[in-house]
């Protein structure tokens, strides 16, 4: 199996997200960075599949040079090939991102052979456009289903389960296929010491590719209005229990 996973480097904010004064980006001066959670699970899924069936996992990101950190992390949990398409810090719209990824996939497949499976996150954690994977799959002429929380790879097809409120919808896609994965499909492993060492040595290909902008233009980011409310303190120990139960009775959740 040759599997490609597309990941995005995103800031990891804490209690609130601050925006730069020009409103163009998240203020990241005091923040760490991470991979979008759905994509972290996509990476884990790809590694598990190749552990079971053999094969290779390639991880691709379109982002700033610093996104190497997210690629190395993927290598530390078992991915084999790392590809970075540098963007010089530009924020790309979804159409442009998808076009860049499509072209990159074309190049990678011409050099190394086709991917049996390409995994995306269901949506990116920051901009959440819900579309880059679908656009890439369509451009490649491959089927895609989003919201996937279960994958079984069979000889000539892939069974994908999508979580709905009370259960699953089951899809059956011919190979090669593309899937948008959701967190919860697995529990991503933590890197081992051996994995960390291997990730330092992993080769990273940096491949500049660009594409046209689409039609969506971001004007500015801002925080939603917050209603500030006074927190009522009910106590500072288990002695608050009667006050809590009074509250539960008052709002009618205690029958």
């Amino acid at each position: 199996m040759r599997i490609l996973v597309c990941v995005k480097r995103v800031p990891a904010p804490g209690a609130k997200i601050n925006v730069t004064t020009d409103g163009q980006a998240v203020e990241t001066a005091h923040l760490g960075f991470t991979t979008s959670p759905h994509e972290e699970c996509a990476v884990e899924e790809a590694v598990q599949i190749t552990e079971r069936m053999g094969g290779e996992v390639t991880v691709l990101t379109v982002g700033p040079a610093e996104a190497e950190e997210q690629l190395r992390y993927a290598a530390s949990v078992g991915c084999h090939n790392l590809v970075l398409v540098p963007t010089d810090g530009l924020a790309l719209d979804p159409q442009r991102t998808a076009a860049i990824i499509t072209e990159t996939v074309g190049g990678l497949e011409a050099d190394g052979g086709g991917f049996d499976l390409i995994l995306f996150g269901n949506e990116s954690a920051d901009s959440g456009g819900f579309q880059v994977g679908v656009r890439v799959a369509h451009a490649l002429g491959r089927p895609i289903v989003n919201g996937i929380k279960g994958i079984d790879v069979e000889d000539d097809h892939i069974v994908a389960r999508r979580a709905v409120d009370a259960g699953f919808e089951v899809y059956e896609l011919p190979r090669p296929a593309v899937l948008g994965v959701k967190e919860g499909i697995n529990l991503p492993r933590y890197p081992t010491m051996k994995g960390r060492l291997a990730s330092k040595k992993a080769e990273m290909v940096s491949q500049p590719i660009d594409a046209e902008n689409g039609g969506q233009v971001m004007v500015r980011l801002h925080r939603p209005a917050e209603t500030v409310k006074e927190t009522v303190m009910l106590g500072d120990s288990e002695e608050a229990a009667p006050a809590i139960v009074d509250l539960l009775e008052e709002i009618g959740v205690l029958q």
Binding site: N146, D165, G167, P188, G215, Q216, T231, E238
Partner: protein, 327 residues
């Protein structure tokens, strides 16, 4: 010109979320000065036309084709694409559910047009370019955007508008439409279903008792389960907990977990990171139990107790049992 709204249904039951799409669609159509059309796709959809009219549809397109049995993103999007061309739709709108956003993305990919997902407000008064505010970070942040496109493709964030029927129903003229589809569009149609749970789910539970890293272990959740059971509620958790393997992901509240809206959310040992908060903020009331008076969860809660959850939660359970025993 027309505004076309995609209605979702599950084998003939109109999705509640689609009522939101129509509510948003009515005000958009008014701004645009265009007619509001709705599209229903697949088996079981034909008897939903009256409901679509109640929601304001002037025309309801019923799309049928041999391969349109159950839901499939390709078949649905390709149908909508052909219909939108046929009626020369100025814009296509859906609600930002899993299916809504998926069909819109497919439609956008097929037409190479921009698609703006999860809008909370849209200014459509200028038909050259629209401006909108949309959700980023699962709602923790807002983005003002503009698009210029010959056909605008937009989804409205789920729960961003309160659904209502039209003051005056639309004419609801029914028109049949049979798209040209072939086997390639059937590849992604649902093959099978599995039902896992029945009854209250985390998203509908009236009480949610959640634990975070402060619970300390999988076993630590025993006291939260006992309290949740007494309140006919459900146990929730933070991502720190699922990442540690203490609870299944189905219990996770937040941006990449479940959005909850209980009468009361009891959040214990949870610091209240923004990605957790967006999943909990629709709760009617929040009670935070935390050792740290500075925790964001405490600051944002309606009620708080500062202290050790391992002592406070069992004390609450004991107090409930005592009162129940004495009545």
């Amino acid at each position: 010109m027309t505004l076309l709204v995609i209605l979702e249904h599950d084998r003939g039951d109109l999705a509640e979320a689609s009522r939101e799409a129509m509510t948003a669609g009515r005000s958009l159509a008014e701004q645009m000065g265009d007619d509001l059309h709705a599209v229903l796709i697949g088996e079981g959809a034909d008897h939903l036309t009256d409901e679509a009219a109640e929601l304001g549809a002037q025309t309801v397109h019923v799309v049928t084709h041999d391969i349109l049995t159950d839901y499939g993103p390709d078949a649905w999007a390709e149908s909508v694409r052909q219909l939108a061309d046929e009626i020369d739709a100025a814009a296509v709108l859906a609600v930002g559910t899993d299916r809504g956003n998926e069909v819109m993305a497919q439609l956008a990919a097929r037409t190479d047009l921009p698609f703006v997902a999860n809008c909370v407000s849209v200014d459509a008064s200028d038909d050259e370019g629209w401006s909108m505010t949309r959700l980023q970070w699962g709602g923790s942040l807002l983005e003002d955007s503009t698009i210029e496109a010959e056909r605008k493709l937009v989804s409205i964030g789920h729960h961003a508008v309160v659904a209502s029927d039209a003051l005056a129903p639309g004419a609801g003229t029914v028109e049949e439409f049979e798209p040209e589809l072939d086997g390639s569009h059937a590849v992604t149609i649902i093959k099978d279903r599995a039902v896992l749970s029945q009854g209250v789910t985390l998203s509908t539970a009236p009480v949610v008792v959640s634990g975070g890293r402060g619970v300390g272990s999988a076993d630590g959740f025993g006291i939260l389960e006992e309290l949740a059971d007494l309140l006919s509620g459900r146990v929730g958790c933070s991502r720190a907990v699922t990442n540690n393997g203490w609870r299944p992901h189905a219990d996770q509240v937040g941006q990449t977990g479940t959005r909850i809206a209980p009468e009361i959310y009891i959040a214990t040992g949870i610091s209240g990171a923004i990605q957790h908060w967006v999943g909990a903020m629709a709760s009617k009331r929040i009670l935070a139990i935390n050792t740290d008076p500075e925790a964001n969860m405490v600051a944002k809660a309606d009620y708080a107790v500062i202290g050790d959850l391992h002592k406070i939660v069992p004390a609450v359970t004991a107090e409930i049992k005592r009162r129940k025993g004495s009545t």
